[in-house]
Amino acid sequence: MPVLLTALTPNRPAYVDTVDWTAMSEMDGKRLRELGLCEGASIELLHRAGFAGRGAHACRVGRMIVAMRAAHAAAIHVRTGADIEGEAGAS
């Protein structure tokens, strides 16, 4: 099951499943894609700033570390390796 990036356990490798590009401005969407964040990209949540994790999120996207606000992270659905293996097993 895809989960929101905001809910992903830190340091757990995952893949971007879908991105709700309508939840952000066109410019931010384009910048995110330029930073390598698009469907299929490997992603790993590294750090959450602030208390209760409501601050900016730092993620490894490919080989790059990208910082974004929680609002953007909440528009990104990710799947972990376990999800993919589970689905392969079920089929």
Partner: protein
């Protein structure tokens, strides 16, 4: 002409420094505040070619003013810049799949291009081994592995450039652009080429990850940042003591030399009271400015600055800004001009405008002379407990007042005149790197030169003009009237005085505020010059320091009001001029001047009235 172009954090500037050394010219592109860094590259065959370092960009689809410059230069649209003959595309070896996307977009323009596969050492450190030959075959252009900060691969890069530079008299080849591809196509192609270029990839314990665990920790991270800021501001004061003393001694020796050389009269007075006193009282702050810039350059070069932006985004978001605003605001502690220039990386126009409008509230180094003088004169040098000095505490309070003022101003601006969406925060956190001392020294030299040029031009001219205004016309002999009061400057100050009197400002302050419009620190030189003129040849009075003389002439509430004024007052013509250029008109700079003057007046008044009411 060669243009260095590539993604941010690809190591372009380090490569530019390595290729050009000290043969650099730093200026601005006409009409915009985007820094233009140009230099000369010596080729092995004796030819010299111009080389320009373009601002980092993710694509040719520009989103911020500096990215617009990159696009315009590449296409040959940029005013004051020739279209480059060769593109040296700098890519981060450890971040190939991402950086190749922009590289492919640039190569598709059909220009002679060379790819500098930079920071290969860091890629190796991360367990990545790349095949430059394969990469070159796939991209169809030469690929040269480089480590700019260690000066590796530069000879090969020069050879490749030499081979691509058209010989003298030879016409430039026609550019044949390739078919344009969509963003997704470019991305897929970049990933495919990057995968083919990887020979081996072994997972390693990455240094960046280890450091980030501490510096981005939700509790430890902000504490480390606070600690760093504390160390920086401590160093600004403690490290500068010795060099400040050397500069003071040099100017004192100059004064003695001039006194011995020249007979008493107009020229001697002009040089001693106008030039040496005026310019000397400003140049003495060069060490503090350089120490602050040293730390800012180090934080940028190591990669920590973006981490600070990450940590600060939460606070910035609360006042309607983004974490990106932290970098220009921190630079504004050194000087608002580079601070305002650094806002060009903020893509959201309203975020950027708000950051520009509050940048002058950060306590720039030009205020230090004013703060140091008044605190030294009026605040007792005693401990308030736990080894904390009262003078330092007041200085800290002034810095905090500026920061709080800026945060409140940003909130109100975002709710009012700069209303808009909350902005966003998207940025790459680069890998940590050990900065190269040579690059830091080069950066410091450029900043020192800018400051000294300012001291030699604006400050020199205003102190001379002020000295003349303060010295003429002279009162009739035996009239008993004060020279300063009778002079032209004294009369101008008399016009201002009724407006400033209610907030505790005396005639002397009214007088100092006029030239301080040119640069804040001139307030000190103005007071020094006015006092030097007033005391004339009275040796006993001249022997007193300026601080001692002010102690006898100002009340404590007046001195505190003067400090409060300088926390908010927008007194620097250069800052206003840069704000005008950055906002493309006079509307916002005028607004900035208006709101900052109003704030300064209210703050100074409130301080004065409170101090008087409490019997200080």
């Amino acid at each position: 002409m060669i243009a260095l172009v590539g993604n941010p954090n690809a190591g372009k500037s380090a490569l530019f420094n390595a290729l050009t050394g000290a043969r650099q010219k730093v200026g601005n592109y006409p009409g915009v505040t985007v820094e233009r860094k140009a230099g000369r590259l010596a080729l092995a065959d004796g030819r010299h070619v111009d080389i320009v370092d373009l601002p980092g960009s993710y694509s040719l689809d520009a989103k911020s003013p500096d990215e617009e410059v990159t696009r315009n230069v590449v296409f040959g649209y940029q005013e004051g810049e020739r279209q480059p003959d060769i593109l040296v595309i700098v890519v981060d070896a450890a971040n190939l799949d991402n950086h190749l996307r922009f590289a492919l977009e640039l190569i598709a323009l059909g220009r002679p291009s060379i790819v500098a596969l930079n920071m290969v050492d860091l890629a190796t450190r991360d367990g990545l081994e790349l095949d430059a030959k394969q990469l070159s075959e796939d991209l169809g252009v030469p690929v040269i592995p480089t480590v700019a900060v260690r000066r590796r691969g530069l000879d090969h890069l020069r050879e490749a450039i030499e081979a691509a530079v058209p010989a003298h008299g030879q016409p430039r080849g026609a550019f044949v652009p390739h078919a344009t591809r969509s963003e997704a196509e470019l991305r897929r192609e970049a990933q495919r080429i990057a995968r083919r270029a990887v020979v081996r990839e072994t997972p390693t314990r990455r240094l960046t990850g280890v450091i980030d665990k501490a510096v981005l920790h939700p509790v430890a991270g902000p504490l480390i940042l606070l600690g760093l800021l504390f160390v920086i501001f401590q160093a600004v004061f403690s490290w500068s003591e010795a060099p400040v003393a050397w500069i003071e001694e040099t100017f004192a020796a100059l004064q003695t030399g001039v006194e011995a050389l020249l007979p008493a009269g107009f020229l001697r007075d002009l040089i001693i009271q106008g030039v040496i006193n005026g310019v000397g009282s400003v140049v003495v702050f060069l060490p503090q400015i350089l120490i602050l810039f040293f730390f800012i350059l180090m934080l940028e070069a190591t990669g920590y600055m973006t981490r600070a932006a990450f940590l600060m985004d939460g606070l910035m978001a609360k006042v309607g800004l983004s974490g990106r605003a932290f970098i220009p605001l921190l630079s504004s502690f050194a000087c608002a001009i580079p601070g305002i220039m650094a806002t060009r990386t903020i893509a959201d126009p309203k975020d950027r405008l708000t950051t520009i409008l509050i940048a002058p509230l950060m306590t720039c180094s030009a205020r230090l002379p004013v703060y140091t003088l008044i605190i030294g004169a009026f605040i007792p040098n005693r401990d308030v407990g736990a080894g904390i000095g009262l003078q330092g505490l007041v200085m800290f309070g002034l810095y905090v007042s500026g920061i709080v003022g800026a945060l409140v101003a940003a909130t109100l601006l975002r709710l009012g005149v700069v209303k808009g969406s909350g902005g966003s925060f998207l940025m790459e956190l680069p890998k940590y790197q050990m900065p190269l001392l040579r690059d830091i020294i080069l950066g410091l030299w450029q900043r020192a030169w800018i400051f000294l040029r300012r001291a030699g031009t604006i400050i020199f001219a205003t102190t001379i003009a002020l000295w003349l205004l303060l010295s003429y016309p002279k009162p009739p002999e035996n009239s008993g009237q004060s020279l300063v009061e009778y002079s032209a400057a004294g009369r101008i100050a008399s016009v201002l005085e009724p407006v400033l009197r209610p907030i505790g400002f005396n005639h002397e302050i009214s007088l100092a505020l006029i030239p301080a419009m040119a640069a804040r620190e001139v307030a000190v030189s103005a007071l020094a010059t006015a006092n030097a003129v007033e005391e004339g040849d009275d040796e006993e009075a001249t022997a007193q320091s300026l601080a001692e003389r002010l102690q006898g002439r100002w009340s404590l509430p007046t001195a505190l009001a003067f400090l409060a004024w300088f926390v908010f007052a927008p007194q620097c013509i250069s800052t206003i001029a840069v704000a005008r250029r950055e906002t493309n008109g006079w509307r916002w700079p005028m607004f900035m001047v208006g709101y900052l003057f109003a704030l300064a007046y209210i703050a100074a008044g409130a301080t004065y009235w409170t101090a008087v009411a409490t019997g200080l």
